[in-house]
């Protein structure tokens, strides 16, 4: 019988022999490789232009500390956090110039943090360096509300920036992006937000269910303003203000899930045939759309994406665990996507292999899906504090 010590010695010897090649392999490079060079000081990343179609800006109005909202840029392909903009109090959302040369951000600041004089500006940011290029002072009237895409919109040619004011008098601030100057205000009494319909026109949604269509002249001042008859029933089935656009048609969904298309015809928005996103059986089961940015579209595929959940009428802002996909031409649902996490805001990229992004304001996770298969690609964690609306290039 071998002694325990001899057994141990034999094991150590055999182990040493077995591991020798590995040990040599580990030691050898250290013997021949040069030491790592010192890193240069002061290196700062820049971003390529044009931006990837799979990037997304996650806007965060930082509800628990509203003076320092921000917008965070994430690459959907890698999940990499690329950088951020600090966007001030009550941050709504960034607006991307069509030519990709500048990012506009309507912002509010107080001279002493939460006290002092209020100043509203549109800050211009360099998309490569994410640093300010300049600012345009605007009247301190910018609406402070739950962020909506239509708090700030560009006219179709990118010339005029339209910013919704609420004091509670309602108006639209017009900024000329060419001269980078405040132009003036357009009165929209009784009507809110802006939904562009062309290079010089937009409409607002009114409290009586009408649309106020405003036409601008080439200086950015209102040249015409027409109010339609009431086109939807505010009392019994109001439309959410979270519209999405494909071409010359804006789509809005009502609390009960009826889709309202408004198409620009002969210079003014006309209601097209409405159609339900829900079957009678689904309505009976209390399915309904919900969320902060509850609709998204892909123009090339002509598809509408809608966040759905089950709940009573007053849950019209609630998140959902499903996104239902519709073929807008056939007016038919073609897909249901099961969401991994609560979904309150969705956005779809514009390219031919689109991604579907999803966040919820009470979570800090950005989920990335294949927008055609519905498969979850990745989840990106620790994105801000209260992410609101999503903006894609």
């Amino acid at each position: 019988m071998k002694s325990p010590r001899r057994v141990l010695s034999a094991w150590v010897l055999s182990a040493a022999v077995a591991c020798a090649p590995l040990a040599l392999a580990l030691l050898a490079p250290a013997a021949v490789q040069a030491a790592l060079p010192p890193d240069p000081a002061g290196t700062i990343q820049t971003l390529p232009r044009p931006p990837s179609a799979h990037w997304v800006w996650v806007n965060d109005f930082a509800f628990s500390h509203m003076v320092n909202g921000k917008a965070m840029l994430v690459d959907g392909d890698s999940g990499r956090f690329l950088g951020e903009l600090d966007t001030g109090f009550g941050s709504m959302r960034v607006v991307l110039a069509p030519d990709g040369q500048v990012i506009y951000s309507p912002e509010t600041y107080f001279s002493r943090g939460t006290r002092g004089e209020r100043t509203d500006v549109v800050t211009l940011y360099d998309p490569s360096h994410l640093s300010p290029l300049g600012e345009i002072v605007i009247p301190p009237k910018r609406s402070s509300n739950m962020p909506m895409m239509s708090n700030a919109q560009l006219t179709d040619d990118g010339r005029f920036l339209l910013i919704y004011n609420f004091t509670p008098a309602q108006s639209i601030t017009v900024v000329d992006t060419r001269s980078r100057k405040f132009v003036g205000e357009v009165e929209t009494s009784g009507c809110a937000l802006s939904f562009p319909t062309g290079a010089r026109s937009f409409f607002s949604l009114c409290a009586d269910g009408a649309l106020l269509h405003t036409v601008l002249d080439d200086t950015g001042h209102a040249s015409r303003s027409d109010r339609t008859e009431p086109l939807f029933d505010v009392d019994h089935d109001p439309l959410t203000e979270k519209g999405v656009r494909v071409g010359d048609t804006w789509y809005f969904v009502s609390f009960s899930g009826v889709l309202y298309p408004f198409k620009l015809e002969q210079g003014s928005p006309k209601l097209q045939q409405t159609w339900p996103l829900l079957s009678a059986a689904e309505k009976a089961q209390n399915w309904r759309p919900g969320g902060l940015q509850q609709l998204a579209v892909h123009a090339g595929l002509n598809r509408l994406y809608a966040i759905m959940h089950q709940g009573p009428l007053e849950t019209h802002k609630d998140p959902g665990h499903e996104v239902w996909v519709y073929d807008l031409a056939r007016k038919a649902r073609i897909q249901k996507i099961a969401m991994k996490n609560n979904s309150g805001s969705i956005q779809v990229t514009r390219d031919s292999h689109p991604l579907l992004f999803s966040v919820f304001i009470d979570s800090t996770v950005l989920d990335v899906y294949d927008a055609t298969t519905g498969n979850l690609i990745r989840s990106v964690t620790d994105i801000g504090t209260t992410p609101t609306v999503l903006v894609t290039p």
Partner: protein, 171 residues
Amino acid sequence: MKWLDSLTEGSARSLAKRTSRRGFIGTLGTILVGASGLPLLPVARGGDAADDKAKHVNDPTSCDYWRHCAIDGYLCGCCGGSENSCPPGTQMSAITWVGTCHNPIDGKDYVVSYNDCCGKATCGRCLCNRNERDTPLYVPFQSNDYNWCSGSAKTNIPYHCSTARIVAVAK
């Protein structure tokens, strides 16, 4: 709608003024009573069992408090104020939005004004969002998605928390 009909005469007058051209950029001091909570997170609600909700229906620091049927924001009762008063050093918004809530204790419906308290950073305590009869932004005085601290010269300042003042019995 029915519940709108039950609003006070003063509210109705204000609504008319708001929607008129004359009201544009007009005097705000005459507008309304009420109030609203700021934004919104559809999060802090639900989850409680029915028994728990019943237990908290008369607790001003609970989201299930009967007056909170349409509130959206941080409850001032958790922030140094109460359901009808603001915390020290803040200011109550002069304009607001109103809801109509049912009080199960006395069986009556009340018009509730959700005045925001303003002038300090967000309180961050007792977040509550309930949306009974809430409307989109284009119907402002029934929408809890606005920050009513912005606007008039006196309260053009940051949002802190939201109260739930009784204005009147709904008729």
